[in-house]
């Protein structure tokens, strides 16, 4: 008996007064599909919608807020309401939004007003999403209202890009033509956001802004007067897109040239060559949509603007290359790789500073901190490219890996790694590890150049150590103590008075490597171990780290973290040039909780159980025409031997039964197959793939032979099918009991 749903008229009555939990209960009630009913439309649903509309039009913010959520839920879960009332609801929502957005300053001055505004925008977005894709609804409801909605959202997006940009992005991709008149306005808003306020937003919002900027170019803008002389040339669909993308890329060259004021490019011919190859406009002029960078060498802080600008440009490039477009785009992959290589080459490892700058300490230290930041943005560009285009970068990979090595800071005048600088660039190195892993996954095992990887392994292992911020202090103190005599004791005493903790409890200041960091380091090391054969030194270091850290963390957490399990597995399966396997250690570490991979590794097993029966069946079908009785009894015996004792008696009655009425068995078998097959198939597939396949096979042939009798199958075949059925029958009857013993047998044999 079906329980009648709560009548909607009752729900409608409580709408106004409901708060808190009651309101959530109402929302939950409205999700029921029982209200999707034509009959309710005239009576109850109409009442409900009228109530919602009344709430929506009221001047109380709280009521409006409630109405927004009610609208969202009822339209999402009730297609009847959506089709009949979406127009009214959307109009009401929109007029409220218009009113709120019109007085933006006053609206957002109170938290209530802000919440209502946010909810209204979201509700409009949800409604537009719901209506989209339904042709009649779109034609009648969405298309007439869309221009107004778009213009309001654009106005609002100046203040609330995080709120509006997701909706605008969808509109841009889905309703490109409707968006066309608003393109310029939106473009101005976005350029303003990018040029002025870009670094006031979080990463997600930044991404949204640049993506919207890229998507603006989906729409073809005024193509200008048509050049008659060029009309015979092929036109590309992505002309607009391409033009804007290129103008972003052209912006890189001046910025990198600006860095030539700090670093001496002329010292390295390759660098000069690289700068020369940067994409530049053929005519020398291009659209500069961003204001010029204002850098003053007398004010070192102003140098950071270069980093800021490069970050924006890199983000824009990624946005342009990562969006789904309706047509194919031409991506200047070579150009982008050249750009990122040039950015990564901005390092003092190999290039000297400009002669005139070397004496200014403030400036040199700023440059020292600035350059890795620039390199990091080039690195992220390479990372995103690899993620998006994968193997397409393969032909550039050797040079990319070489340039990635530039990021590793080296000590002055030597090639050894400057680990102190590495400590300052922790998060950048974690990014680098991820990027290197991306590229590694496309390479083969034999590489000419592996210094990058050995260096990175060293850095990774260094970063696993706990960082001790006091190290510096101790060093300084020691030096100071040695130098200064006792006369300054009094003064120093005053200073160090509150510093006693530093000396008495130094361990309290050590920041341990977090689990998250361990995870990303382990992912990198696993990738290295899996993809490359490392020299013994590195392999041993990695192994040592994996074991000691795993033991330590196991004691702390009670279990070995997942990423360490993966690393241990990789080390066991890819020992590199090492002769001794660490499998006993790995198993000991993981024995508390067990591990499927090591289980199979230490107790190797093949899918024999299944194959065995298949072979037997095949044999019987091959040889048994004349000796089927014997064959079968053999099988019964042997299976009895394998399985537990009580199985012995089982096959015999069945045998008799079969001998008496094979047809009946066949029929019941068919029935059973028809009834049980699907779930049986799935259940068994997980346990024992092979056996199932072959059972399936047997069934199939049976069916085939039953159905296709007209196909004039020779008489022997029919006989064969009978024998097949017998074997099968014994198998099927016993299969549930037999599965486990079968596997045991195979294990024993191995």
């Amino acid at each position: 008996m079906a329980v009648e749903p709560l009548p909607l008229s009752k729900v409608a009555k409580t709408l106004e007064s409901a708060t808190g939990y009651d309101f959530q209960v109402i929302l939950k009630t409205l999700t029921s599909f029982k209200y999707v009913d034509d009959k309710l439309l005239k009576s109850d649903l109409a009442v409900l919608v009228a109530k919602i509309l009344k709430l929506l039009r009221s001047s109380d913010d709280y009521h409006v807020w409630k109405a927004c959520h009610l609208t969202e839920v009822i339209c999402a879960y009730n297609p009847v309401v959506l089709c009949s009332q979406a127009g009214v609801l959307l109009t009401a929502l929109f007029s409220k939004l218009e009113q709120k957005a019109g007085f933006y300053r006053t609206t957002v001055s109170t938290p209530q007003g802000k919440t209502v505004l946010f909810t209204l925008v979201k509700s409009v977005g949800v409604m537009v999403d719901l209506v989209r894709g339904k042709p009649a609804l779109t034609r009648e409801i969405l298309t007439p209202r869309l221009p107004a909605i778009i213009s309001i959202l654009i106005t609002l997006s100046q203040f609330e890009p995080k709120l509006c940009c997701p909706i605008l992005k969808k509109l841009l991709t889905k309703n490109t033509t409707t968006f066309r008149p608003h393109i310029n306005k939106f473009k101005n808003v976005l350029i303003n956001l990018i040029a002025k306020d870009y670094h006031h937003f979080d990463d997600a919002t930044k991404k949204l802004i640049v993506e919207n900027f890229a998507l603006l170019n989906l729409v073809k803008q005024n193509s200008g007067p048509k050049d008659e002389t060029k009309s015979h040339l092929k036109t590309y669909q992505d002309e607009q897109w391409r033009q804007s993308m290129m103008s972003v890329l052209y912006n890189f060259k001046p910025i990198i040239n600006l860095c030539g004021e700090i670093i001496d490019f002329s010292a390295d011919r390759d660098m000069q060559d690289l700068v020369q190859r940067l994409p530049s406009p053929p005519s020398g002029e291009f659209e500069e949509f961003l204001p010029p960078v204002n850098v003053d060498l007398n004010k070192p802080m102003s140098l950071w603007q270069i980093a800021e600008r490069l970050r924006i440009l890199c983000d824009l490039t990624v946005a342009f290359t990562s969006q789904h477009t309706k047509y194919q785009i031409r991506v200047p992959l070579g150009g982008i790789v050249t750009i990122s290589e040039a950015i990564l080459s901005l390092t003092t490892n190999y290039l000297p500073l400009q002669r005139t700058l070397r004496r200014d300490a403030e400036l040199t230290s700023t440059v020292g901190a600035l350059l890795p930041t620039l390199q990091a943005s080039g690195m992220t560009l390479l990372g995103s490219m690899s993620q998006l285009y994968g193997k397409m970068l393969l032909s550039y990979t050797p040079s990319i890996l070489a340039t990635l090595e530039f990021f590793i800071p080296s000590k002055k005048g030597s090639t050894s790694i400057d680990l102190e600088k590495v400590d300052c660039l922790r998060s950048e190195f974690f990014d680098l590890f991820g990027i290197v892993n991306l590229y590694l996954s496309h390479l083969g095992h034999s590489l000419n150049e592996t210094t990058l990887f050995t260096k990175l392994v060293e850095i990774a292992l260094h970063l696993t150590k706990d960082s001790v911020p006091l190290k510096h202090l101790y060093l300084q103190q020691n030096l100071a103590l040695r130098k200064t005599s006792e006369k300054s004791k009094k003064a120093s005493k005053q200073n160090t008075g509150s510093m006693s903790d530093v000396y008495s409890h130094p361990q309290a200041f050590i920041s341990t490597c977090s689990l998250k960091h361990f995870d990303s380091l382990n992912r990198f090391l696993t990738g290295i171990v899996l993809n490359l054969k490392m020299p013994s030194v590195q392999q041993i270091k990695i192994t040592k780290y994996a074991i000691t850290a795993a033991v330590k963390l196991e004691r702390e957490l009670g279990q070995v973290p997942e990423s360490f399990v993966h690393l241990l597995r990789a080390l066991v399966m890819h020992p590199g040039y090492e002769r001794i396997s660490i499998i006993p250690i790995a198993v000991t570490l993981l024995k508390k909780h067990g591990d499927d991979v090591f289980d199979v590794f230490c107790n190797p097993r093949l899918p024999i159980g299944a194959v065995q029966t298949v072979n037997r069946q095949e044999q019987s079908s091959l040889y048994d025409d004349h000796e089927e009785e014997i064959d079968f009894s053999h099988e019964a015996e042997e299976e009895g031997e394998i399985t537990t004792v009580n199985e012995d008696t089982k096959p015999e009655p069945e045998e008799i039964e079969k001998a008496e009425a094979p047809n009946v068995v066949l029929a019941s078998n068919m029935e059973r197959i028809l009834n049980d097959e699907p779930d049986k198939m799935f259940r068994k597939r997980t346990i024992e793939v092979q056996s199932d396949d072959h059972e399936l096979k047997i069934r199939k042939t049976e069916i085939e032979q039953e159905v296709e009798v007209t196909k004039s199958i020779p008489v022997e075949v029919v006989q064969e099918s009978e024998t097949v059925v017998e074997v099968h029958e014994s198998d099927v009857e016993d299969d549930s009991d037999f599965e486990i013993p079968d596997i045991n047998l195979s294990d024993d044999e191995e």
């Binding site: 808190g20 477009t325 496309h442 095992h445 899996l530």
Partner: protein, 499 residues
């Protein structure tokens, strides 16, 4: 879901389904070299045309699939074998198109830009018979009639001017006609097994695992009674099927000796040579095995040129020298279905390539379909000069759209309710603490307003009190006046009386 089967002969190309009756013939199609067709992306088929320097492109599944040629790619010279190297998931098109010529030259094109990355002449000394990319496209294997098999790193092929193979196998004494590699392999490194067949009547099995062996290790050799043309593996490496003019045989790698003993024929004990014999009723399997013979069931007697195994490992598609395909049930060895080309003629020749692929049939192929027909993209023309790796290097590509998520309330109602609850906070006064959020700038304003309000309320009180006082004093005055008036009257009355 359905398994789509494409096979070509010298003059025809047929697209059919393993379990359905639908069948189409592609127009103007035919290739005389083995393995001259390849699936590209989810829906396209590339076929190297016979005696022409052309690749015909057909769209064989999805919306807009048709029988006629969709695009023709011109080549520097006629090619024989084709293969693609797949890219990451976000890219629809594969990365590389590999082609070989009858002279043993290997061409490597980047499909996204049409650039010729490498043209390796004399990769093999005789025609290449098959190209296959393995381990997610990290390696490429080629086999040739010069009885050699080479394993290349994909990176070497695209970066080096004169790439060299990482491994070369030359155990066969006559041309290698076909090979296949385990379907199950590691994600990152060369692993699994390799099976090669050759005209020298042998099937050889190698272990590719480079973690165990320094180079591919020959595990076993099986000899047959005739030359071998083709090989395919069971989906789970349990058996392999070899075909030749004398028919198609099954080789089970887990070979039963008697009732309880099973031999793994591919154990790593070194190169064992076993001869495969057809089943004879009287022979004792154990005795045969000690003599180095194993029994291989014969699946069909037809002269086969190409083989393919179905997804569940129960059906074998046998392409034969007459230009037809037979779907065999492996267990019962019965033919289930025969597939001819529709315009079948005697002169079409043998089946030259056979592609069995899993496709997802779109159930909503109706006229009311809302999605606009996708704009078809042309593959860029293949260049004839080797790419110099300079300049912008434009690559055509289209990023696949993200999967669209349902709107918030439909997607995850529980988190939606959570959101509702947290938003409601703004309107509610929680607990017993009475507090309102104030913006700093407004504070002073409000305080002033409060003060004013206070003052005004006090003054109101005062006025009302004053009023009442006024009223009361007024009433008292009235009474007093009345009393005095009466008193005076009374006094006058008294004095009048006295008077």
């Amino acid at each position: 879901m359905e398994e789509q089967l494409c096979f070509t002969t010298g003059s025809t190309c047929t697209v059919a389904f393993l379990n359905a009756a639908k069948q189409t013939d592609l127009k103007q199609c035919g290739t005389e070299f083995r393995n001259g067709s390849v699936r590209v992306g989810p829906s396209h088929l590339f076929v190297a045309q016979r005696r022409k320097a052309l690749i015909n492109i057909y769209k064989i599944s999805g919306t807009g699939s048709r029988e006629s040629v969709e695009q023709r790619l011109a080549l520097p010279e006629p090619v024989s074998c084709l293969e693609v190297v797949k890219n990451v998931e976000s890219q629809e098109w594969p990365y590389l198109l590999l082609a070989s010529t009858p002279t043993g030259k290997l061409y490597v094109w980047e499909l996204g830009s049409g650039q010729l990355l490498t043209a390796k002449s004399l990769a093999h000394y005789q025609p290449i018979t098959k190209i296959q990319s393995i381990v997610n496209g990290k390696y490429v294997i080629t086999s040739g009639l010069d009885s050699r098999l080479m394993i290349w790193q994909t990176m070497d092929l695209v970066t080096q001017e004169d790439p060299k193979p990482v491994y070369t196998l030359h155990d066969h004494t006559l041309g290698i006609t076909d090979f296949c590699v385990s379907n199950a392999h590691a994600t990152t490194h060369l692993s699994g097994k390799l099976f090669t067949v050759s005209h020298d009547m042998t099937l050889r099995c190698y272990d590719l695992n480079i973690e165990v062996w320094p180079q591919p290790h020959l595990l076993a050799t099986f000899t047959f009674s005739g030359p071998l043309e083709c090989v395919t593996l069971d989906s789970a490496d349990r058996a392999c099927y070899v075909g030749g003019p004398q028919g198609t045989h099954q080789v089970n790698f887990y070979y039963p000796l008697g009732s309880t003993k099973i031999v793994n024929l591919l154990s790593a004990e070194g190169n064992r040579i076993m001869s495969c014999v057809e089943s004879q009723a009287q022979e004792n399997v154990r005795e045969l095995y000690t003599m180095g013979q194993i029994v291989c069931p014969k699946i069909t007697g037809a002269s086969s040129t190409k083989l393919a195994c179905s997804m569940d490992g129960s059906q074998l598609v046998v392409g034969d020298s007459l230009g037809k395909c037979t779907v065999m049930d492996i267990f019962s060895k019965q033919p289930l279905k025969e597939l001819h080309s529709i315009v079948s003629n005697e002169s079409c020749g043998e089946v030259t390539s056979l592609v069995l692929d899993l496709i997802d049939q779109d159930p909503s192929e109706s006229l009311l379909a809302t999605g606009k027909s996708q704009i078809e993209h042309k593959f860029p023309n293949l260049q004839k000069n080797v790419f110099t790796r300079e300049g912008l290097h434009d690559v055509y590509c289209q990023i696949t759209a993200d999967r669209e998520e349902a709107v918030a309330p439909l997607d995850d109602f529980q988190s939606y309710l959570n959101q509702v609850a947290s938003e409601e906070n703004a309107f509610m006064q929680l607990g017993s603490v009475v507090s309102t959020v104030k913006v700093v700038g407004q504070m002073e304003h409000q305080e002033e307003a409060n003060m004013e309000a206070k003052v005004s309320s006090e003054s109101e009180e005062l006025t009302t009190m004053k009023e009442t006082v006024g009223q009361l004093t007024g009433a008292y005055k009235d009474l007093r006046e009345m009393y005095e008036k009466l008193f005076r009257e009374h006094e006058t009355l008294l004095s009048n009386k006295e008077n």
